[in-house]
């Protein structure tokens, strides 16, 4: 018994140290920026390399003179120092020459920047909204809207199982865009500032509440491209990746149709008669995606920052107030409005919190059905 226990412990420590936590690939050669897949990203890469090499040359020249002095002008070899100082020609030269080098850098940099700053409408226009801690994509022409969440398993993050190839760079729903078309992103945020970075397209634009920033791309090569949030946005800043899938036009059209069908199905679900059990099952997954980061799996929240739902009077006894908080958010607190979720999702997640952690036993146990949300949304007199 004890031997087996020891053996298990041994195995756990070993696996934690050497298998699960250690990287799957050796990437000693991930040293430089990548070229990316658009004309702009290639231009940016060339610019980066140009300036990098200019800097290397400057460094090598300056340091060579310095290292030569350190070698040749030591006290041993040169007991008496020279006494020269100030030389106007030299001083003018080392002011003018750097200035000329700077101009040589500024010209191509400014040209590329002007190209990037083209804010005409695209063939496809997508509104990107940053939330703590996920991205929402709204296809303006096709009325498609969905959220994109990190899909990496918590067990991988906590080193309990081996990490997959796309660890922290995978999402439950990718942004799909057509190849060869100009796609414009209108980037904003719902709560704090985020930043939408897609290295392969050389796009990085801050997503700022109250502002709409634009960026555009035209990708010719179909493929899956991965990016990240690059503005500190709270606890899970490192856990809201971006994945863009570029497909040929036909495949894109097909995808758009599928998304539209799915939206119709969702609308039908709203009118269906729901049992508490069905809602709880559905609500659990909604909770896992939207609520768990703050309110925690056990509904206890984090004392001082995020309030507990388990044992909360609102969640146990005040159904209307409960709906109102999810629809409107809480002023001056981290709790935002979740009115962007579907009626089914909202009803399910509220019911889930009202039925879990002993809340049903200690409270009134009432459930919320999609119709309640629809009623809430109706204009009040």
């Amino acid at each position: 018994m004890s031997l087996k226990y020891f053996h298990n412990l041994h195995l756990m420590i070993f696996s934690a140290l050497f298998v699960f936590a250690s990287p799957m690939h050796a990437d000693w050669f991930a040293l430089n920026m990548t070229r990316g897949v658009t004309d702009i990203s290639n231009e940016v890469f060339e610019l980066h390399m140009l300036i990098f090499w200019i800097c290397v040359v400057i460094g090598v020249v300056v340091f060579s003179v310095m290292f030569y002095s350190m070698y040749a002008h030591t006290k041993k070899k040169n007991p008496v120092a020279a006494s020269f100082h100030e030389n106007h020609k030299l001083e003018i030269a080392w002011t003018i020459v750097p200035f000329l080098i700077l101009i040589a850098m500024a010209v191509p940099a400014s040209k590329t920047l002007v190209k990037i700053y083209d804010d005409e409408a695209g063939d496809v226009n997508i509104q990107v909204t940053g939330y703590q801690w996920k991205w929402q994509y709204n296809y303006l022409e096709d009325d498609i809207s969905f959220f994109s969440n990190l899909s990496t398993d918590m067990d991988e993050i906590n080193n309990l199982v081996p990490k997959g190839e796309h660890y922290l760079q995978e999402v439950d729903e990718m942004v799909v865009i057509p190849a060869g078309k100009k796609v414009r992103f209108l980037i904003t945020a719902n709560d704090v500032i985020h930043s939408w970075w897609m290295p392969a397209f050389a796009i990085k634009q801050d997503a700022i509440p109250g502002f709409v920033n634009t960026a555009w791309t035209k990708v010719d090569k179909p493929g899956v491209y991965r990016g990240k949030c690059t503005e500190l946005c709270g606890k899970n800043h490192g856990f809201m990746p971006i994945v863009v899938k570029v497909v040929e036009q036909e495949e894109y059209n097909q995808w758009v149709d599928e998304k539209k069908q799915a939206a119709i199905k969702m609308a039908e679900l709203t009118t269906k008669d729901w049992t508490a059990q069905e809602l709880v099952e559905r609500g659990e997954s909604v909770y896992a995606v939207n609520c768990v980061a703050c309110h925690q799996t056990n509904g206890q929240g984090i004392p001082g920052i995020f309030p507990a739902l388990a044992g909360s009077d609102i969640v146990m006894n005040q159904k209307d107030k409960n709906i109102e908080i999810l629809m409107e958010g809480v002023q001056g607190a981290a709790m935002n409005s979740f009115s962007y979720l579907s009626e089914v999702e909202l009803a399910a997640v509220i019911t889930y919190t009202r039925q879990s952690w002993g809340n049903a036993e200690n409270g009134d146990g009432e459930i919320v059905v999609p119709k309640d949300i629809v009623d809430y949304k109706k204009p009040k007199i």
């Binding site: 936590a21 990437d27 040293l31 800097c55 300056v62 120092a81 100030e86 700022i208």
Partner: protein, 527 residues
């Protein structure tokens, strides 16, 4: 006549008071300088310990040691403590010790304010650090505390953070006023502006920068306070406010702040290179003009920290060009140091090693800064580890190496004892290797695409993160050696001569070692 005056002084001035009150009530610039230096070293160790928590978590992918929430508190406090508690007070300490001795003044112009500006600092940091134990935890929004993450979404401890920043700001402003008044009014006859040692010049400029921008920081945190507690909406878009306004205000403070942390280093390094090259500085006046140009330019480049917030094209172009211009005076400084060493008669004592490392590594940091100024490329670099590598290169082997160089260079004058040269060199090499192993790979990690302020990362960044963490622990542990060397020197050791270094020039080397409690009670004669 002068002998009579000196006797008069001897009758009334005793040495320092005994015990704790010496330090609490002191108005002596040397005592206050010592207090500042020890305080900053304590903060350096605390901030460093936080850096090691960060590097330990990043040693491998996955969450191992801390929660993301606590990780964010660590990055925030690490930055705030190192900047406001480590680097800035260390430079103020050096100014206190050196400025009066360098210009032949008996003390700082405003000694009681000097005492006050130091003694409010421990309270500021006590308040800041105590927030770690508050409900909701310490500030977790990064040292740049962008709204609305630092207002609507902040933990309750943000109010304590704001109070603490106010105290730090008041301390800095008082310290800066003191430096300006001292330099402007108390120079010995013959010490004209263009004869002042470069360290004094660098601090004069730094002090003006501090007076100009610390009130701006105070304004920013006050607006935050209003947003949080009094229902205003300066930075809240939902109330008609503007989150980007916060960034403009913050960086209008923040960019001059960057130079506040490097200008005194320029002064220090100039003195040390001159001394150990046994050769006059190549271009004194061009060094002064270069520092002045850098200081003035620092007010018109702030938005290069904000290239991705969606500025209009014209603004992006302006801030890119203005930022690139800074390379010109910075180049002038580097070329001057190299030209000073050229055909000198060089020896490589510990201060010189740190100064040479400063020139090389600061230049690397400067060149990566030039790369960051290029807006299209910055779209790829911004907020990645490339930026982290850049500013750590200018702050650690830049500002902090210069402070260490200064300590080794002047400690014989302060304590009257020589430090242990072999240990000093060992400390240098461990720090030099540690710094480069830590921060050089962060260039790679950043270019390969890892954003900063991430508690966990994708697998392709694993190898170099591991190397960086190993370097950080090497660097961290080496600083214990530094503490040991300093304590050993203060306790005893080979007696230092008054001149200390063969090539040293300047008034501070004309007084006894250790420097008497009161120096230049009568102004020295300067030609």
């Amino acid at each position: 006549m002068s002998a009579v005056i000196e006797n008069h002084h001897d009758d009334h001035h005793h040495g320092p008071a005994k015990g704790l009150t010496r330090w609490l009530y002191t108005t002596n610039h040397k005592d206050i300088g010592t207090l500042y230096l020890w305080f900053s070293f304590a903060m350096f160790l605390i901030g460093g310990a936080m850096a090691l928590v960060i590097r330990a978590e990043l040693f491998q992918p996955g969450m191992q040691i801390v929660e993301p929430e606590f990780y964010n508190q660590m990055i925030t406090l690490h930055g705030l403590i190192m900047i406001f508690g480590g680097v800035m007070p260390a430079f103020v300490g050096l100014a206190n010790w050196l400025v009066p001795m360098m210009i032949g003044a008996p003390d700082m112009a405003l000694p009681r304010m000097n005492n006050l500006s130091f003694w409010i600092l421990p309270f500021a940091f006590f308040i800041l650090l105590s927030s770690l134990f508050m409900e909701g935890g310490a500030p977790n929004f990064g040292w740049t505390f962008y709204a609305p993450l630092s207002t609507t979404y902040a933990p309750p401890s943000v109010t304590f953070f704001i109070f603490s920043v106010h105290i730090m700001g008041a301390s800095s402003i008082m310290g800066a006023i003191n430096v300006v008044v001292t330099i402007m009014n108390m120079r010995a006859p013959g010490v004209t502006l263009m004869k002042m040692p470069l360290f004094v010049w660098s601090w004069l400029i730094t002090a003006y920068l501090l007076i100009a921008v610390m009130p701006v920081l105070a304004g920013a945190v006050t607006m935050m306070l209003m947003d949080i507690h009094f229902g205003t909406s300066f930075f809240n878009a939902a109330g008609g406010g503007d989150p980007v306004l916060f960034q403009h205000i913050f960086w209008f403070f923040g960019h001059p702040e960057v130079y506040i942390m490097i200008l005194p280093a320029f002064g220090i390094v100039s003195h040390i290179i001159e001394t150990f090259s046994r050769k006059q500085l190549f271009g004194y006046s061009s060094m002064v003009w270069a520092m002045l140009s850098i200081a003035i330019l620092s007010f018109v480049v702030w938005a290069h920290h904000m290239f991705t917030v969606g500025l209009p094209l014209a603004a992006e172009l302006f801030f890119m060009w203005a930022t690139m211009l800074i390379a010109v005076p910075t180049g002038v400084k580097v070329f001057n140091w190299v030209a000073t060493m050229f055909k000198g008669s060089l020896t490589f004592e510990t201060p010189m090693l740190f100064a040479i490392a400063f020139v090389v590594l600061f230049t690397i940091g400067g060149l990566s800064g030039l790369m960051l100024a290029i807006v299209p490329a910055d779209f790829q670099y911004h907020d990645t580890y490339f930026v982290v590598a850049h500013f750590h290169y200018v702050l650690v082997p830049g500002a902090i190496f210069s402070i260490m160089a200064a300590v080794y260079y002047w400690i014989p004058k302060w304590s009257g004892n020589m430090y242990d040269e072999r240990l000093g060199k060992l400390h240098f090499w461990l720090s030099f290797i540690g710094v480069n192993v830590t921060f050089f790979p962060q260039h790679f990690i950043g270019l390969a695409g890892m954003p900063r302020r991430y508690p966990d990362y994708a697998l392709q960044f694993a190898d170099w993160n591991m190397v960086s963490s190993v370097g950080a622990f090497l660097f961290g542990v080496s600083q214990i050696l530094f503490l040991f060397i300093v304590v050993k020197t203060v306790m005893g050791g080979k007696k230092a001569t008054d001149q200390v270094w063969e090539g040293a020039r300047g008034l501070e080397w004309t007084v006894a070692s250790p420097a008497p409690y009161h120096t230049f009670t009568t102004p020295p004669k300067v030609d």
